[in-house]
Symmetry: C2
Amino acid sequence: MPRYDAPIRDMQFVLHDMLEIEKYSNLPGFADAPRDVVDAVLTEGGKFAKEVLQPLNMVGDQQGCVRSDDASVKTPDGFPAAYKSFVENGWPLLATDPEMGGQGLPKVLNMAISEMSSSANMAFSMYPGLTHGAYEALMAGASDELKAIYGPNMASGEWAGTMNLTEPQCGTDLGLIRTKAVPQADGSYKITGQKIWISGGEQDLTENIIHLVLARIEGAPEGIKGISLFVVPKYFVGEDGSLGERNALSCGGLEEKMGIHGNATCVMNYDDATGWLVGDENKGMRNMFVMMNEARLGVGLQGLSQAEVAYQNAADFARDRLQGRALSGAQAPDKPADPIIVHPDVRRMLMDQKAFVEGARAFAYWTALHGDLKDKSPDEKVREKAEDYMALMTPVVKAFLTDRGYKACNDGLQLHGGSGFTREWGMEQFVRDCRITLIYEGTNGIQALDLVGRKLAANGGRAIFTFFAEVDDFASEYGDVAELAPFLEGLKTAKGQLQEGTTWLMQNGMTNFNNAGAASTDYLQLFGLTAFAYMWAMMARTALDHAGSGDPFYANKLKTARYFFERVLPETGAHLAKVKTGSEAMMALEPEAF
Amino acid sequence: MPRYDAPIRDMQFVLHDMLEIEKYSNLPGFADAPRDVVDAVLTEGGKFAKEVLQPLNMVGDQQGCVRSDDASVKTPDGFPAAYKSFVENGWPLLATDPEMGGQGLPKVLNMAISEMSSSANMAFSMYPGLTHGAYEALMAGASDELKAIYGPNMASGEWAGTMNLTEPQCGTDLGLIRTKAVPQADGSYKITGQKIWISGGEQDLTENIIHLVLARIEGAPEGIKGISLFVVPKYFVGEDGSLGERNALSCGGLEEKMGIHGNATCVMNYDDATGWLVGDENKGMRNMFVMMNEARLGVGLQGLSQAEVAYQNAADFARDRLQGRALSGAQAPDKPADPIIVHPDVRRMLMDQKAFVEGARAFAYWTALHGDLKDKSPDEKVREKAEDYMALMTPVVKAFLTDRGYKACNDGLQLHGGSGFTREWGMEQFVRDCRITLIYEGTNGIQALDLVGRKLAANGGRAIFTFFAEVDDFASEYGDVAELAPFLEGLKTAKGQLQEGTTWLMQNGMTNFNNAGAASTDYLQLFGLTAFAYMWAMMARTALDHAGSGDPFYANKLKTARYFFERVLPETGAHLAKVKTGSEAMMALEPEAF
């Protein structure tokens, strides 16, 4: 059975050494997170992930969730107890608003805790993850009354939340939603329709489930401009906060899926269920997007999380499995064969994984820190930049970290040879679980379109120009540090290519939108690689600062940085070449020619 | 539920137009395969695959195989009847030696039929596939007596065959085999040991199962030089060919796997089972390699086969699913949304798949044709070249077609969005089934090592220099055809990069073997891309010859060729850059630093 140990040392490196989060102690929340508190939180989070969540990961996969004839859903053995413990330990409240009972610690710290839970048990961690997303959507748009009714219990995890978007005829294109809402005299609405792929739509973890549902109010405009958001609780909540009657909604079935079997993916039927409007009529998408952006970062993190746990187990296997001899001569002559870690091609997979997970962690946390600054900085310019970055980077974090995270999971499986394909080693579960991350919360293709079609052009390209300038400043600031030269060289090349791709898009994507669409995925990959190059250059710079400490961690960081620049970054050239070919060859065939 | 229709038109294009197999009608077997016979075989093969095998594919996945307490194994419902029909229709005999009852038709034609079976039902087609591999190993080394006893019934598929290599402590490194063979007075051996991952080790499809088992004769030299090959039947065969007593072997369990659930992957226990030596003592690896090379081509074909069926269903989905509007304006204004095939990023996935499956088919069949020429050509130089190519190309076909085939399956799943992740659409089964192809018959990393460590250097590099010269000749022969210019340009660039990589390997891989190991996978990818470029250039040339026919098939072939050269081939540069970085960064970390 696989193991998981939270990579606390690397998390500390990113938080303390690279991002230096202590320097924001003037900001709310950060003030309560000095280094010793952060380290204690990381240690406790790692313990909980390893001891409580990880042992349930394979059980969850094998048992899955079971729906009974009465439409109730049983989660895998151990999940309810683990969830209870998760709530009792206060983990959902870590970075939540103090006015809803939260501790209000930095979101960037919460990213580390979320990474741990997700590495240990992705299917489990989706229950609190989506609850938090629903909570954020509610906070973004609901009336104070609704917030007061649902907020505190969702914040603490006592109640769960879900997001109801998809219907059989509409996934990406939410303008096609048919679920209808009929206004009632008392100000509530009757909601009727079917929603599919609702994660945690029904379960036995919480007393109540608060569904956020997109629906169309009778007579609303066609398409996306006629969609409203409703809060629809499973059980009604009395004035005193007690649970009352059951609402007219139920789980009509569970999806059979490739992975994340421990999470109940429900068909939800609303049959004149009572709901209340969140925010304004026909403005449902606005609040949903608040939640969705946050959720997209979370999905990127899932990609990293599965890669991390796959990597850890691959490294164990590579050290333990004896097979063949090193090409350079026996390394363990006393054993029947050498451990396979002596073979360069095995190293290639491990180094690819290591360069990915460490780069991804830096990128995800760096982005999350901007999420904190966006909300908390007293400096308007800092807030503006942080908001720009969050918008610009979110699709990149989501798609790049899941694409490459999936590759890393596959490398972990591959390194195990035949064992990787069997259930008992657990590697194939990481691949199956991770697979969904490339799809949900907007497929990676949709992320790429969001990037080139919306995020690049926003405010006249302010966000990306700020990013280019930041990279340039970094490169010139450290331009005379000899040890950084190869890294800065690579960074400058990648940034130049990204700039070239951006210019090409501006010149060719506006006049022919198909050129933008045809370039989008490769442009996003080029962006992700460049962002990683910046992260690795910053990490190398930081490691160099600590080189005198004698801690081999820093020397190893520099070696991994070198690997990234030599062995991963060269892929940028092909992506740029593809971006610049345009859409002609891609669109040349008639649909029936496929 | 997914569908499968054999891509007969494209198979005809490769066989008749590109490879022009009719021009080999002077060779045995080819003489019996004029165009109308080939087309009839393709049609019948396609019908059998579509009507008999494909409907059982999802059933096989969901039911899997079941072992009873008596150690018997039940395959999924419908498999035994389909297998009976497969044998009665004579499919196993298509390209088998006439002296064993076969029809002796060209192997290249058999590739097309194998592709169909495997696309329709990969788990099913492994039963006859491995039987054929075992049959080949037997034919390569066994005495005439053993051949007479087992050959005809294995050739026809009446009996099945298996390959027993792996043990718990040894997969790639077969020198670690512990299964022992003790010589008996009557010339037979008593075989004792445990073998794992034995595909079809036990089943209910055939009356007898002929196991080929690698074992160590008592007192044999250590390591790979002490391994012998034995034939160990499940039931002994009497003088009259009737089945007698049961041998002392049994299935100890079934592996739980990620995919190919319809194929029984067995733990096989040999407990003083009686076997007979195949070939010479301690030379077991030689005959096993005969089988293995053939099997490796077959695994490459599996990668293609799963990509093909995933592609077909992805194209259907892209034409049917309505979601969003074309960036260039509504294409189906009468419908609530446009079919998603209007979106460039959806096209990207379809075109990647199409460029892959058509390139892979050409490459696999072209290589298989060399397999025919190697055995059948009267011209010694042709035979030598064909043998060189078979040796050189086999690891490339195996690894490149499975790596990229897996990617194509994943693209098919991705294009389906959330539906791709659910069981009912069948896309995730293609991904899970295909996943094993990157591993078995030698992991893709082992293929890469075989290529750089053995195949490149054989006979002073004769094979690859012949290939380079062939590409050069092609490029200069058609150098003045304007329509081919962009394709020849791409081909020459890729070939130049492969040559540069080869030179780098020769200069740096011999003095430091780790450099060869570190470069191997990227070198293989570079090789595969270059081989595909050659295939696509040949296909473009062929299509251009037929451009006057008015058949849109040829115009579409040229459009897909253009896509390949613009959108796929640019990846060569990154692989070359990685090849040339050497092993230093890859090997820099201590094992415990991972």
